[in-house]
Amino acid sequence: MKLVGTALALLAALSVAGCAAGSSTGEFEPHTADTLTVVTEPLPTQGFWEGEGDAPTGGAEYELANELAKRLGVDKVVVRTEDFSKIVAGDLGDADVALALITPTDERREVLDFTSPYLEAAPTLLVKGDREVADVQTAQELRWVVGANTTFVDIVDTVIRPDSPPVQIEDRAEEVRMVADGQADVAMFDLPAAAAIVEQEPGLSMAAQLSDSEPIAAALPKDSPNTEAVGSALRAMINDGSIDTITERWLGGPISDVEGSVPLLRTDNP
């Protein structure tokens, strides 16, 4: 009798849970059938998105997108590009997900949904040649260039406090070019991105990294029904080592090795 009662309660609960039927990791409902549409910055972003125009040829986040599609059960990946400022303002167009080295902030959370981070990266100083930047006093004297609308604007403003205001550039490649050409002394990138740039631009080097890492996560349209599914897939990729394999392949080795080779910027006052 008690067994029957429990079975009936279970059946009732099953009918209540009917709306949850599907997957324990969340259901993926792509904007375009059987397609994962990804938006990122204009190509290339060294190490993360290689290629030109809307035709990526490789890169860590590109591979990530393909692996994500596989795990979400869709066959096709379509990549669109958009200015970073538009992406972080919540304008993803018809994209299901944005993969563009985005750090979740409270402001961005108001217009976007974020997954758990798939990378942790320290803000890193990119300089020309072997210039040494041992402490924040030295960094203050340099001419800075930072990506517009990135979290680096705030970090440079509050942590470095340079003597002259940093130049803000929308285009990541232009930032790198300014440092390489000597128009700016230093730029700030996430450590994996800086490592990839240095790998491709031997004239540049990573002078220092800040001690506090920033999380990098996938962004989805606000209140997207896919946040759980994409988040679960990314966590599974972290767990089974897929993300480590991808970043090792494109960023010149394990991130932990690169981290260990870049000195910390001393930010304490003398």
């Binding site: 008690k2 067994l3 429990t6 309660a9 279970l10 009732a12 609960a13 099953l14 209540v16 849970a17 009917g18 709306c19 949850a20 039927a21 599907g22 997957s23 324990s24 990791t25 969340g26 750090t103 979740p104 902030t105 409270d106 959370r109 974020f114 981070p117 942790e120 890492s213 920033e214 999380p215 759980e228 599914a229 988040g231 679960s232 897939a233 990314l234 966590r235 599974a236 990729m237 972290i238 767990n239 089974d240 080592g241």
Partner: protein, 624 residues
């Protein structure tokens, strides 16, 4: 004049701020919910939500301090879950504990797995859900124990069953997580997991106890070092597990089970482990789980539907298991009610499995939030049921206590102490019990000398691997002091170390204690400082009677084969230096005359000396 506008204030952030917020939750969360008669764990979960990015946003969205520390807290929680389980109860009530353990695991496991399949989950997620519903945490055991129901056979069986349910649940977690993170063919993954569990089992249950015991003796002279050794032990087990791609919490739990005997529940080391666990590690884990709590997700139809399913599968399964104990184990309705209340709360193992399931991408946020609802409901329902049945269940008579549960060593002279302390340690280890040491000193001994002796005794205890702080009683009424201490500490056995002082008296203080105390009193006479495995053990042939069986228990605790001993005074007189004799003494005269030759030790087990009605310990039994 300085303008106030020149003062700049920064919004609080960084490690100090995050820890401050964390500790405020630890301080305020539990007492607030406990006023509503809800266990404190819920207060920590809600507090975690409140301070997190989904609540008041006191912590930065990208902060990793508390989540990272929470991972260590999770390992700590599972270690504590293993180390504080009462394995003695599992041994004592083996049949009913295993039967109930299988029942209370199987029903929720079956219901949870079937329900998950029914809503379309894959096999790994369905099995993990079933196993996490099948485990339970003894959240309400203190309530039942305080109602004096701990000795009820069905209560004890439920406590013993917890070892089984949590172990099986964690093995399933290891297998499921292994299949998710492993690469290669199914056979290769199975081999990896099988090999990993085998190596982990050997490491935890064979190597770890030996190494930890030795480290306790070699390095554990300081309390802090003993604690750090215990922490390092479970971290080592977690590392071994992770080396084979098994979740670290499985290693931590196994380490807890393996060190169960080395860390007695009532002992000082356990209290330190509890202290740090309660103050920091476990709360930080619970708060870190609370960070995942999202009301917007929790009130979604999907989450509530899942929660309803989990609740019915879990509570229904636990209910059926408890009811099945009536025909299968002969439990009464009230006993079945208490068994249900004890085995239903979902907390430590459930949270651990859920967190791992989330981290490996097997569970979504909806599942995590649905499990949090389940935890809340299971604890509240079980609390109500426990309150209802605890007053209806008849209080059982006090059960027979194992002699090693709480051994009091009463020492008047230091020279004969080593053999008694060694024997006490061995006996206590058999039952995962504790040793208390009491130095009884006459008022005639000068204060400085008493302090020196106490220091020497403390050093001796540490050298012999006994985790105890010797206490001193200054009295001219030795017997009364020991009686008071034994009553006060509810000693299960007293080892009275009797020096030569009583030899010329008509009656020694130890004899008085043996005459007066209702707990077994063993009188140790003679000096020998040698490991028990190196002594010649002498004992008379086994015989009927309480003293003989008690003597047999002591003999069993000594790692030597006993050699035959002649009965009575002749046997004692024939002892040689280096001999330790364990013998019952059957008369008052025999005990009064039972002093071994120099260099030998007599462990005398008095028989038939207890008075019919033990005197009131508050009154002096005699003056020695």
């Amino acid at each position: 004049m300085t303008s106030l506008a020149a003062i700049t204030l920064e919004s609080p952030k960084g490690g100090a701020w995050e820890f401050l917020v964390l500790f405020l939750v630890v301080i305020l969360g539990p007492p607030i919910v406990q006023r509503l008669r809800i266990p404190g764990i819920i207060g920590l979960l809600i507090g975690g939500f409140l301070i997190g990015p989904n609540g008041l946003g006191l912590l930065d969205a990208g902060s990793t301090t508390i989540p990272d520390l929470g991972q260590l807290g999770l390992l700590y929680l599972m270690f504590v879950a293993g180390v504080e389980l009462d394995l003695a109860l599992l041994r004592q009530f083996r049949r009913s504990a295993i039967t109930f353990g299988l029942l209370t695991f199987s029903f929720p496991m079956l219901f949870g797995t079937v329900a998950a399949f029914a809503i379309g989950w894959d096999t790994a997620a369905a099995l993990l859900l079933g196993s996490l519903l099948a485990s339970h945490t003894l959240v309400l055991y203190p309530l039942i124990r305080d109602a004096k129901l701990a000795n009820d056979p069905m209560v004890a069986s439920t406590v013993g069953a917890t070892v089984l349910t949590d172990t099986i649940a964690l093995v399933i977690l290891a297998v499921v997580a292994g299949t998710q993170s492993g690469s290669g063919s199914g056979a290769e993954i199975a081999l990896q997991i099988g090999l990993g569990l085998t190596v982990l089992g050997l490491f935890c249950f064979v190597l770890l106890p030996i190494v930890v015991r030795r480290l306790f003796r070699l390095l554990g002279t300081e309390r802090t070092v003993r604690y750090v050794i215990a922490v390092a032990a479970f971290l080592a087990a977690a590392v071994v597990a992770e080396t084979f791609q098994i979740e670290g919490i499985v290693g931590a739990f196994f380490a807890g089970l393996a060190m169960n005997r080395l860390v007695p529940n009532e002992g000082p080391l356990m209290s330190r482990i509890d202290f740090f666990g309660s103050a920091l590690f476990v709360p930080v884990f619970l708060v870190s789980v609370g960070l995942l709590l999202k009301p917007s997700v929790m009130i979604q139809g999907e989450t509530l539907g899942l929660a309803a399913l989990f609740i019915v599968a879990c509570i229904g399964g636990k209910f059926l298991a408890a009811q099945s104990s009536r025909p299968l184990l002969g439990a009464s309705g009230e006993q079945a009610g208490v068994m249900f209340a004890l085995s239903t709360p979902q907390a430590a193992a459930t949270l651990a499995s859920t967190t791992v399931g989330y981290e490996i991408g097997l569970f979504s946020e909806s599942v995590v939030n649905a499990v949090l609802v389940l935890i809340f409901v299971s604890v509240v329902v079980a609390t109500l049921v426990a309150e209802h049945y605890k007053v209806k269940l008849e209080i059982p008579p006090p059960g027979s206590r194992a002699i090693g549960e709480h051994v009091l060593v009463a020492i008047a002279e230091l020279e004969p102490a080593p053999v008694a302390l060694r024997l006490a340690r061995r006996v206590a280890e058999q039952e995962a019990g504790i040793v208390d040491v009491l130095l009884v000193q006459s008022t005639e001994v000068a204060g400085a000398e008493r302090s020196d002796r106490l220091g020497e005794l403390a050093t001796l205890c540490r050298r012999l691997g006994i985790d105890a702080d010797p206490q001193i009683r200054v009295t001219d009424h030795f017997a009364r002091a020991v009686l008071h201490a034994a009553s006060d500490r509810d000693a299960s056995m007293v080892l009275a170390v009797d020096g030569a002082a009583g030899r010329d008296s008509t009656q020694s203080w130890a004899d008085i204690v043996a005459l007066t105390l209702p707990a077994p009193v063993i009188v140790v006479r003679g000096q020998l400082d040698r490991p028990l495995r190196l002594v010649r053990l002498v004992a008379p042939a086994p015989a009927d009677g309480a003293a003989s069986s008690l003597a047999a228990e002591l003999v069993a605790a000594v790692p030597r084969e006993p050699e035959p001993m002649a009965a009575g005074p002749d046997g004692i007189a024939e002892l040689a230096p280096g001999d330790v004799a364990i013998a019952p003494v059957e008369s008052w005269d025999e005990l009064a005359r039972a002093y071994p030759p120099d260099g030998a030790v007599l462990v005398a087990v008095p028989d038939g000396l207890l008075p019919d009605a033990p005197p009131d310990p508050a009154q002096p039994a005699a003056t020695v």
